[in-house]
């Protein structure tokens, strides 16, 4: 089949980085992503279903990989050559369930790799040992953190791929109640909601808690929606760069929305603390209880540290890669620096135990998340699609996806 594939071609990764400095669209052309005929992946074993892609989103981590900027950390956690695409809504192909729409929970967890579950009812991403991700499973599933980074399963940027039973969430709602355009946002929303729930332990018991969100792309907006729905009685302050992002942040439940550069003053006004120094060396005397950084650059992490109160928490939602950072503030303020990669089993403030995907399915419906899907492209238009995704903010877009419903 013809699919988009990333091969381990060091020259192309390097070229993408260098060309990307001048022209982002040129980077895709010389980069590691290619539209080519690939061999159909073989069924890895029992419990694996063939899923025909309907919509597959383009995620920030995909972009950094295509642009050659991904961290070498992933070297051991991916298996080349792979088909990217982990934000997928698709449909089952074989058997009685053919035609059933599904959303992929992309992590290739214990069940998918024939490892014993860490606890009963564990979701793919649960567990405190990632060994299963980094070794080839008995069925021959190569190392990879997720579908979309694994050479054995295929990925969403292809007409079809393999998904394990444990990765599938069947959508039993009719297509009018949960359109594909909405369903494709479930995976990123699950990520955002997971980050939002990480704020809960810090704000618990605080009077007038404030949560700041830096960045209002897909992930930032998902986090805002999650905060509003699942963390009661908080003030949400959002710093976002583009006007359409600010509008959506307000619509998703933010209390105060400002441009990114004004976020420190907005947080100060909410909290009522002092502001010490100015510019990059400045900091608030107190600050937001939790700051969710949905950007993931050196600048944004530094900003997050400056606006978070002592003993508060900074949640890194955007994938940071290689950053340069002054950690004095972190040390002095005893701030928690918390990563937020994925989703799994969650405990809500009222004690209910559920999994993030279910929360995400509820949330995308509640906020009508399809409005975030700005444009779709076919696979052979991938240059335009990647370019659009890479310049989404500037072009008034949020999420870009591949649409394979017609070609499939």
């Amino acid at each position: 089949m013809k699919a988009l594939q990333i091969r381990r071609n060091i020259a192309r990764f390097g070229a993408a980085r260098v060309v990307g400095a001048v022209s982002p669209s040129g980077a895709t052309k010389v980069g590691p992503l290619e539209y080519r005929t690939i061999e159909d992946p073989e069924r890895p074993g029992d419990g694996w279903h063939r899923v025909r892609t309907r919509l597959a989103g383009i995620c920030g981590s995909d972009l950094s990989l295509i642009g050659g900027r991904a961290s070498t950390y992933f070297e051991s956690w991916v298996s080349f050559p792979f088909v990217p695409g982990h934000e997928v809504v698709g449909e089952l192909v074989d058997g009685d369930e053919a035609g059933t729409r599904v959303v992929l929970e992309p992590v290739l967890g214990h069940a998918a790799r024939d490892f014993p579950l860490p606890f009963d009812g564990a979701r793919p991403a649960d567990g405190d040992d990632y060994a299963h991700l980094a070794v080839t499973s008995q069925d021959g599933v190569e190392p990879a953190i997720q579908t979309g980074f694994c050479c054995s399963t295929g990925g969403g940027w292809a007409p079809w791929f393999w998904a394990h039973e444990s990765q599938l969430h069947r959508l039993n709602l009719p297509i009018n109640d949960l359109p594909d355009e909405r369903a494709v946002l479930i995976e990123p929303f699950a990520g955002g909601i997971h980050a939002a729930l990480l704020a809960a332990p810090i704000v618990e018991g605080r009077a007038n808690p404030v949560v700041a969100v830096l960045g209002a792309g897909t992930m930032g907006l998902a986090a805002i929606a999650g905060l509003r729905r699942y963390i009661p009685d908080i003030r949400i302050v959002v710093g976002a760069r583009y006007p359409h992002q600010r509008e959506l942040a307000l619509a998703f439940g933010a209390d105060v929305v400002v441009t990114a550069t004004e976020l420190d003053r907005a947080v100060r006004r909410e909290v009522g603390c002092h502001m010490l120094g100015g510019g990059e060396s400045g900091a608030l005397s107190s600050g937001a209880d939790v700051t969710i950084d949905a950007v993931g650059s050196s600048r944004s992490i530094a900003d997050s540290l400056r606006i978070t109160r002592p003993r508060g928490r900074v949640v890194l939602l955007g994938m940071p890669a290689h950053v340069e950072l002054d950690l004095t503030g972190l040390w002095h303020r005893e701030i928690d620096l918390k990563g937020a990669y994925t989703y799994g089993t969650e405990t809500l403030s009222d004690g209910t135990v559920t999994d993030t995907f279910h929360l995400a399915i509820d949330t995308v419906t509640a906020v009508e998340a399809e409005r975030l899907l700005s444009a779709t492209y076919s696979l052979d238009e991938h240059l335009d699609a990647i370019d659009h995704a890479a310049t989404a903010g500037r072009r008034g877009a949020i999420k870009i996806a591949f649409d394979l419903r017609e070609s499939n």
Partner: protein, 528 residues
């Protein structure tokens, strides 16, 4: 398969869009989410074997006998043709008029017609230079008829050569060229570039006198012309049609030949002008940059020379011949097929780029009055139904609006600009106070008849052409024009598009909706 025109809603992904700026162009970014750009339909396919189609139309006319049956050896035959104001830019040779006139002459020769006159139906326009006649009719006709004096240009100020046909029911007088009036058959060879042209207008204006033209070329009827491109809602055309009916009843037999052309106005390397910006190839972008940068450096004279040298590769989309009214209905259908774009509702602002050419400056200078005429007269009128801009809205044009006039072609325009516009820019006032003086000025009359000047009254007509737009718009802003000149026109100068939008906010508020008319490519917005 040419794509139909369409309305683009500007978003943040939309590249800046093309604006004419006289003899140059620029790319302007319109505000996202509240602007729309109306793109014209792509050029329709032209007819193959055009000569065959013309012959076919002459042999199978609408509501008339075939042309050969109308031709008798001892008859008086007069052939009239549209002047240099059509087409814009001039079409590559052979011109449609040459093809038509040659076909008619072929048949006339076969029928043994001896008495043939060929008259340029130029109304009050300037006379055509010989090279223009040669371009329009071709050397064969000019060489055969011009030296003997059988090819000449209509003279509206020659009392010996004007005949009164009669008065319409509304009391309008119809006076036309005497030779045509006394002919047994008048054949009119026409090019229909826009819906305003053709029909009875060809003959009753092209061969008319000043007295006759002022019956409908006046502020009252032009303010009631909604629009010039929609004959059925135009006071001007209604008056002309009344005259046409009079002509049908008491004038000579008229055999009208109309041709419609597509919108392929720019040859290589300027094709990119008519392309949609996001489809510009690397070559197009390179050409745009090279041409716009170098045009900025050139003196106006040189730029003008360059642009007026352009010959359009128009293709003809239809030919129809026969009884004027019937022919014209068919023509209109074909014209609209090329031009109509459905547009939903009006906006607060209408933007347009004013090109280097208007119907009144072929091979000449686009003076400030013609900028007004082109913007508020022609482009503003490119609608059917309702104007694109709301009443009291703002019209923004881009043009350098330099205070330059062609001394030979536009002598009365200079005085109009200095004298009349210093006094008033209200069409009604100027028509009662100044028009007569200019119309009867002996020097202008002399220049019109013997040189290549527009008639003395013509600047008034050009100004009246914009009367409806002027009345409708709350404010008119010209971006990039000389401030003093723009103010004299009664408009507001602005240095950039952003400034213009800021100035407009006084009239239409902080976030107005905007329509942009994408020129070139001609279109008529069918506003619902």
């Amino acid at each position: 398969m040419p794509r139909p025109g369409f309305v683009l809603d500007v978003d943040r992904s939309t590249p800046p869009t093309l604006f004419w700026r006289g003899e140059g162009f620029s790319l302007e970014r319109l505000p996202a989410d509240r602007s729309r750009i109306i793109y014209p339909p792509e050029p329709l396919a032209g007819l193959d074997n055009l000569d065959g189609h013309i012959r076919d139309a002459l042999l199978n006319p609408l509501d008339m006998d075939p042309l050969p049956e109308l031709l008798k050896p001892d008859m008086k035959l007069t052939i009239c043709f549209d002047d240099a104001s059509l087409s814009l830019p001039k079409m590559q040779q052979p011109d449609n008029r040459q093809r038509i006139v040659e076909a008619v002459l072929d048949m006339a020769a076969e029928a043994g017609v001896d008495d043939v006159h060929i008259i340029a139906a130029l109304g009050l326009h300037r006379r055509m230079h010989e090279y223009e006649l040669r371009h329009v009719l071709g050397d064969r006709i000019v060489d055969a008829f011009l030296p003997k004096g059988f090819l000449y240009q209509h003279d509206a100020e020659d009392p010996d050569n004007i005949t009164e046909i009669g008065h319409t029911d509304e009391g309008e007088v119809l006076e036309i060229n005497k030779r045509a009036a006394e002919s047994d058959l008048v054949v009119y060879a026409n090019i229909n570039q826009v819906a305003m042209d053709g029909g009875w207008k060809s003959l009753t204006t092209g061969l008319a006198s000043y007295r006759c033209l002022s019956e409908h070329h006046n502020p009252a009827s032009l303010q009631n012309t909604r629009s010039l491109m929609d004959r059925h809602h135009s006071a001007l055309h209604k008056s002309i049609w009344r005259m046409g009916e009079l002509l049908r009843d008491s004038g000579p037999t008229v055999f009208q030949v109309e041709t419609t052309i597509n919108t392929e106005a720019f040859p290589s390397p300027f094709e990119f002008l008519a392309k949609r910006e996001w489809e510009w190839t690397a070559r197009d972008r390179g050409l745009f940059l090279a041409s716009s940068k170098s045009l900025n450096k050139l003196p106006n004279r040189t730029k003008r020379k360059l642009f007026h040298k352009i010959e359009a590769p128009y293709r003809t989309t239809s030919v129809q011949a026969g009884f004027t009214a019937t022919v014209h209905e068919r023509t209109l259908e074909n014209v609209y097929q090329q031009h109509l774009v459905e547009v939903d509702g009006q906006t607060d602002i209408l933007t347009m780029g004013i090109p280097f050419i208007s119907p009144y400056n072929p091979e000449s200078i686009m003076n400030p009055i013609l900028v007004m005429c082109m913007g508020l007269g022609y482009l503003f009128n490119m609608y059917r139904g309702k104007p694109l801009v709301k009443e009291g809205g703002v019209v923004i044009m881009t043009h350098p609006t330099y205070e330059e006039f062609h001394p030979v072609h536009h002598p009365s325009y200079i005085d109009f600009f200095d004298e009349v516009l210093a006094d008033t820019n209200d069409p009604a006032v100027m028509s009662t106070k100044w028009e007569k003086k200019y119309a009867e000025d002996e020097w202008y009359r002399h220049l019109y008849r013997t040189s290549y000047a527009y008639h003395g009254v013509h600047p008034f007509y050009a100004w009246y052409w914009g009367a409806h737009g002027q009345q409708h718009a709350g404010k008119v802003i010209i971006v990039g024009g000389y401030a003093a000149t723009v103010r004299k026109l009664g408009f507001t100068p602005a240095s950039t598009m952003n400034d213009a939008l800021e100035i407009a906010s006084d009239t239409v508020g902080r976030s107005p909706t905007i329509s942009h008319l994408h020129v070139p490519g001609v279109l008529v917005a069918d506003v619902k």
